[in-house]
């Protein structure tokens, strides 16, 4: 099934593992890069402007390198500031895409949706969120405190109040659950 013993060569951008937990924000033009850099730095984020790796085919000649784990928080901030990137990619693999595979499990009176490492469970009849499990970033327990016991269609959205990629994955599971429960 897998080619287990052939070690892949990582892209040049990740030869140094210190950058493995960073991502690139790709913008339409340089003036957006400069504006986004100024705004993000003013909020204290650890970012820097770089040249794009060859795998990135869109955008201008500069990208912003940022802590990938904070993707959700940074994108929300840029959206509010009306400077949205064309693309967000991990430094470790610019061709990697966010998870789009959902596992759905029917547990009788309950329905569970899993996205990547995050699981969300609702009671079918009431659509109350009864549990959140999985994940490893510190906003997961926080999100669970804010969401468990609340109705699926009126509780805070993880994409609005989460901060990390685990929060992002929970947000995708949440949207998939809303889709399924509104059918």
């Amino acid at each position: 099934m897998f080619n287990l013993f052939k070690k892949k060569t990582l892209p040049s951008s990740v030869q140094d593992a210190s950058y493995a937990d960073f991502g690139f924000l790709v913008f339409e033009n340089t003036s957006e890069v400069i504006q986004a850099e100024r705004l993000l730095k003013s909020k204290g984020w650890n970012i820097s402007v770089k040249g794009p790796p060859p795998e990135i085919q869109s955008g201008c000649d500069l990208v912003i390198q940022f802590p990938l784990i904070e993707q959700l928080n940074i994108l929300r901030f840029l959206e509010k500031s009306l400077i949205e990137p064309l693309q967000v990619v991990p430094v470790a693999g610019p061709m990697l895409k966010p998870v789009d595979l959902f596992q759905v499990k029917d547990l009788g009176d309950f329905l569970m949706v899993r996205a990547a490492n995050m699981k969300l469970t609702v009671e079918k009849q009431t659509t109350l969120i009864v549990n959140i499990s999985g994940g490893g970033c510190p906003d997961v327990p926080y999100l669970a405190c804010e969401m468990v016991g609340k109705p699926l269609f009126s509780c805070p959205r993880p994409l609005d109040i989460g901060h990390t990629l685990c929060g992002y994955a929970l947000g995708l599971a949440f949207e998939e659950m809303q889709k399924r429960c509104s059918q």
Partner: protein, 291 residues
Amino acid sequence: MLAIAGTVPDPDPGLMIGRVDLVNNMIRLDGRSVPVNRGTPALLGAVVQTLKVFGETDIQGFLANDTGLGTGSRRLYQYLVDEAALSGISTLVFHYLQPDVDWHHKILFKLNEMADKPVMIADAGFMYAAKMSGQAKDYDLFTPDAGELAFLADEMAPHPFYTRGFILQTDNRVTDLVQRAYAHENAAQYLLVKGSTDYIMDQTGLLFSVDSPSVESMEAIGGTGDTLTGIVTALISTGMAIPKAAYAAAKINRVAGFYADPTPATQVIEMIAQIPRAVETVLKEDHGGSS
């Protein structure tokens, strides 16, 4: 001594350092009380409840308040690197901490310098950082669930959110994914993979698997993976060999779930309450596993 480093969701910026107790279903640490629902408090609750059976109460907690911004985690990393906090610790588990490769390097450097390096266990965010750093094999045990195992098996993914679909799909066998994680040096010396069947594996392959008692609703309950990590950590701290501890912990977690008779809406504290009884049940049995 056993120590746990992790986070709790509280906007208060201070660290909580000190001896851990479980009082009236709340974790007590450094003069503060923390509810046990999931995450590191669930792990701490399971550690306390497991060690209670052994008459052991000396448990050290290093907790930061962090709701996902990473500030609290970085404050705790700084504390662990700067202070002599880690000396005298024989078993150390890292848990829900903001993944940060740079800080991971500093912590690991400090631990590798110690004359008596503790048994090192990583789960959740710190396990992500350990994998991303390329230094996973410096750890004695990782405790991933299915989604996290796929992430360990994907040599390109910097976080489970970016795990490639062909690895994430459910028809991949756990043993194949584990082999792939070892082939790319993205696994600890031992893996305890949590799921409908729990697998205890190392580089040589499958050591044990545990699939009973089977309590399907446990998968939906937040914190049941954290309790398993807590139980195995506690057993290792008593001197039990890692594979045997992982096998016993998988059984204990399931038996505690069975005793709690949960639905998918049950909260993990109900299961934690059953851990001492489950420990006694399992340790009385023969520890031979199926492999």
